[in-house]
């Protein structure tokens, strides 16, 4: 029954482009349901509001390919948003931005140190950091919302609110970062090492790869992306709550998984992650447009995640059902 699956063309196609095909089907479905769905301003809007999630997902893709998890990105994004907003009024945007990046990178370095050099389990470390960074943010802000005093007189808004060449800046940042990180992952020696470390850390060590350093760098990259996301977020609304990033870690993870990165490490690409991010964004938007309650989106996301990952591995193993007895 399942045997012929592998050799059929459908199987081969699904194996390579399963996620893309699912994506196209959803786009068509929603477009039929609501003709506004593909309207340029809507598409632009979805991409723009996916940019923050997307930027974070880029970093997490590195972490996941290196065989680890990062559940702290949501909390960390709240942290960087709050910090940059606070410093904006204290030391001015030109200093606030690098200062915020430095602080966020410190957090990333701390996690990277724990997971990379001390070899602690990343699920638990980042779970702990999720809570700890939230505590840190609350301590920093005293629990209050953080707002820029003079919202009209600051150039800080460019990162979130303006456009260049007709494209909103958040999309430009997302695109640029995706291009750079995509090249880094696919083409550079560092990228290769990330795959090796995630695929088999022991063999990577035996091949003279400094595994700890690679993992550490992945977390730094992730923190860099989080800081960028925090910057866009802060610039976009020029004010924020302490909980702005809460729960994003799971959405980010869902996007990366939808993109087909294996949680065991060693596989995934930036391009696929972007597709995953867009799928999530368009589902959310599409369901809102057809007037379904927000919770329908939960159920749909569930079904899509499982179908997407299932088809992906089914195509790889050449049969639909798992061979587990």
């Amino acid at each position: 029954m399942a045997g012929g699956f592998s050799r059929s063309n459908i199987g081969g196609l699904l194996a390579k482009q399963g996620i893309l095909i699912a994506f196209v089907i959803f786009m068509i479905g929603f477009t039929i349901a609501n003709e506004r769905f593909l309207a340029p301003e809507n598409v632009m809007g979805v991409v723009r509001s996916s940019a923050i999630l997307g930027v974070m997902a880029l970093g997490v893709t590195f972490v996941v390919i290196s065989g680890n998890l990062d559940l702290s990105v949501g909390s960390m994004m709240s942290f960087s948003t709050i910090v940059v907003l606070d410093l904006h009024d204290k030391i001015g945007p030109a200093l606030a931005i690098p200062a915020m990046f430095a602080m966020t990178l410190c957090l990333g370095a701390f996690i990277g140190f724990l997971v990379g050099y001390l070899k602690l389990n990343s699920l638990i470390v980042t779970l702990g950091m999720l809570s700890a960074i939230h505590g840190l943010t609350l301590t920093y802000s005293g629990g209050k919302n953080m707002d820029i005093a003079d919202k009209d007189g600051t150039w800080f808004a460019v990162f979130g609110q303006s456009s260049a060449l007709g494209i909103p800046v958040p999309i430009l940042i997302f695109g640029l970062l995706a291009a750079v990180l995509g090249m880094v992952l696919a083409k550079t020696p560092f990228g290769r090492k990330v795959y090796a470390v995630g695929g088999n850390g022991v063999a990577a060590t035996f091949s003279g790869i400094r595994r700890a350093r690679v993992v550490f760098t992945c977390y730094l990259l992730s923190a860099f992306c989080v800081a960028t996301a925090g910057l866009i977020q802060a610039s976009r609304s020029l004010g924020s709550q302490n909980t702005v990033g809460q729960g994003l870690e799971l959405e980010v993870l869902a996007a990366v998984i939808l993109g087909g990165a294996s949680l065991l490490g060693g596989s995934g690409t930036i391009f696929k992650t972007i597709v995953g991010v867009l799928i999530l964004g368009f589902i959310q938007n599409g369901l809102l447009l057809v007037g379904l309650q927000f919770y329908a989106q939960y159920v749909v996301t569930w079904v899509i995640i499982i179908l997407a990952v299932w088809l992906d591995i089914a195509a790889k193993r050449g049969r639909l059902l798992s061979p587990i007895a």
């Binding site: 702990g128 950091m129 700890a132 998984i257 919770y295 159920v299 995640i305 007895a325």
Partner: protein, 333 residues
């Protein structure tokens, strides 16, 4: 070899040592910082502690067997909420109108069946599709939560049945009803994991799945049973808790999975499966509850609680690793 069994013993004892440390710390710190007149280590307080450990505890115990089996379940919080809704709502269904208080066991059974069914769905997907349990249950965590909202929109579902509340608040031999349930689950699962073929096979599957498959163990059904069990336990946890509180918000139980996993890890269960102990998980649950209670007792604010709980988790992991470091000259990979 003697040495190894000793370090293993130390590791098992570590969580209880940590609990002891917490007790001493909060008693001492409390005598300076606390406003309360009663001591921290008061018997009633400890009995309360056990009772309060029950909701997360029962789920964490279920999580232990799932993790020993080499899987993980992130959907327990949503299962817990859905089971609670079924229990509370079913008590008001017209079909059961003439049942009087007999509606209570009926609604319990319905709730537990809901839990088992949701667990079975997860188990079946993991089994038949071969998708990793982390992903399957991450999806289910969203999906089941969606079902929770669909049931009653954003409204809480409430039904206070005072007979039920009285039962749930009762104390028997000094222990609260919830505590009895917790202890019964500990006993039951200990027996299951250590004495039955299913339990031993679950260990084997988590330890080396390929070996289990090669040995002809039917991995799928065992995983399925364990997922049904954790669904059952998440529902049982809801039954125990909501019998007493009578109302469930649609977002109740969020983050329960993370707390349960934390407790399991504190209890020393291997994240990759194959090793772990039911009793140590109970220790992990108590340690967390004690930490929360103690931090409240000495007047720590929200930000401190978050910071401390997060860092403790990392510290425990670090200590666990230090305990595991072998002699000098270890392979550096």
């Amino acid at each position: 070899m003697n040495n190894e069994s000793r370090t293993r013993l130390i590791k098992k004892g570590a969580i209880w040592g940590f609990i002891l440390f917490e007790l001493v710390f909060f008693s001492v710190a409390g005598s300076y910082l606390s406003l309360s007149e009663s001591a921290f280590m008061d018997l009633d307080n400890m009995l309360l502690l056990l009772k309060q450990s029950a909701p997360i505890g029962i789920i964490a115990l279920g999580m232990t067997i799932i993790m020993i089996n080499g899987n993980i379940d992130l959907s327990v919080g949503a299962t817990y909420a859905l089971a609670a809704i079924v229990m509370l709502d079913s008590m008001t269904w017209p079909v059961f109108a003439g049942f009087g208080d007999w509606v209570i066991p009926v609604s319990w059974i319905l709730a537990l069946m809901t839990g088992v069914a949701l667990g079975a769905v997860n188990g079946l997907i993991v089994w038949k599709t071969g998708v990793d349990a982390f992903i399957v249950t991450l999806g289910a965590m969203l999906g089941y939560r969606g079902l929770v909202f669909m049931y009653n929109g954003e409204e809480p579902t409430s039904h206070l049945n005072w007979t039920l509340v009285d039962f749930a608040e009762a104390q028997f031999l000094g222990l609260h009803t919830a505590t009895w349930f917790l202890l019964a689950v500990v006993g039951g699962l200990w027996f299951l994991m250590n004495r039955t073929v299913h339990g031993r096979n679950a260990y084997a599957i988590g330890d080396n799945r390929e070996a289990a498959v090669n040995a002809g163990i039917r991995v799928g059904p065992h995983m399925m049973i364990n997922f049904m069990l954790i669904g059952f336990l998440a529902a049982l946890s809801a039954v125990v808790f909501y019998s007493e509180s009578g109302s469930v918000n649609p977002n109740d139980g969020e983050l329960f999975e993370l707390w349960a996993i934390t407790a399991v890890v504190l209890g020393g269960t291997k994240l990759t499966g194959g090793a772990g102990s039911i009793v140590s998980t109970l220790g992990g649950v108590i340690a967390i509850q004690l930490l929360r209670k103690g931090l409240g007792y000495i007047g720590a604010g929200t930000e401190t609680v978050n910071l401390v709980i997060g860092l403790i988790l990392i510290a425990v992991l670090f200590l666990d690793r230090q305990l595991n470091i072998k002699a000098k000259g270890e392979l550096k990979v």
